[in-house]
Symmetry: C2
Subunit: 143 residues, 2 copies
Amino acid sequence: MDTKKLFQKFVAFTTAVHRVKHEMTKDVRTGEITPVQYDILEYIAVSQPVTLSEISDCQHLSMPNASRELKKLAEKNLCEKFAASEDRRKQYIRLSKKGEAMMNKVFESVEARFLERIKHASEEDLKEIEHALDVLHAKAFYS
Amino acid sequence: MDTKKLFQKFVAFTTAVHRVKHEMTKDVRTGEITPVQYDILEYIAVSQPVTLSEISDCQHLSMPNASRELKKLAEKNLCEKFAASEDRRKQYIRLSKKGEAMMNKVFESVEARFLERIKHASEEDLKEIEHALDVLHAKAFYS
DNA sequence: CTCTTTAGTTATCATTTGATAAATAAATCG
DNA sequence: CGATTTATTTATCAAATGATAACTAAAGAG
């Protein structure tokens, strides 16, 4: 196998994923939050409940900066902190009602665009897409 | 086909691509340039020669901001502008020798990590990966 | 019970990024 | 030719982000 060619495809593909993701989410960000705050909210939505340390690690933010941004999100009533019973230093974070509502709207909108994007795909195509997602996730974009 | 489930895979996959790309490129950025400047350089490297307007469009930067960042890159001798003969308002932009050298090193390093990432894949696996890249690029992450 | 480590906060400062207004200069349109 | 559009620049300001130091409070180790 010509891995050089494979690598080029890998790069082009990665760029395409970036572009498409940006296009699908660019206007879902309300004026209320910054890009970094949106990323944090998205992460919480998918992984809640999470700790501050996890946000810091996964979003590549220092603890002080993560703490600051989370405070702003809490002030905007988009997420809530609650103490962990096992360890009183820790706190778990989850979306508030308002945060849930916002992220639900976001995901609905993104899903609609996704469906639009695959609307001309046949049942076969969809199977192929699903399989391709599984393959790449497992063999190239694993953690 | 359960498109709900497919959408969830799509989201999880997109996140994984982000994460992997970040991991593969995080330390290739020398201290000399900012993240936005790195993105511009990467875009020039792949698409050169490009115009300022193209950078502005593709990198989602306003013209004034694109112009500013490009000026900084030119001052660092990482890229060069040259007038377009057809239209004297335009200028084409390409990497300088130094910029080429920098980006070559970057791509080498990323390629090495890519190879590391797929080193345990069999010849069959590689074929499957390549096919999956083609399928997804054409049917889900097209432009 | 001290010592060290872990989780998180607050404050501060520098840098980066984004947004906007106003300018130049060349191309194109009528 | 004059008016408009296109490509780009410069300047300026506000906001977002990143980095660092110094702090509190609880947990865990010996």
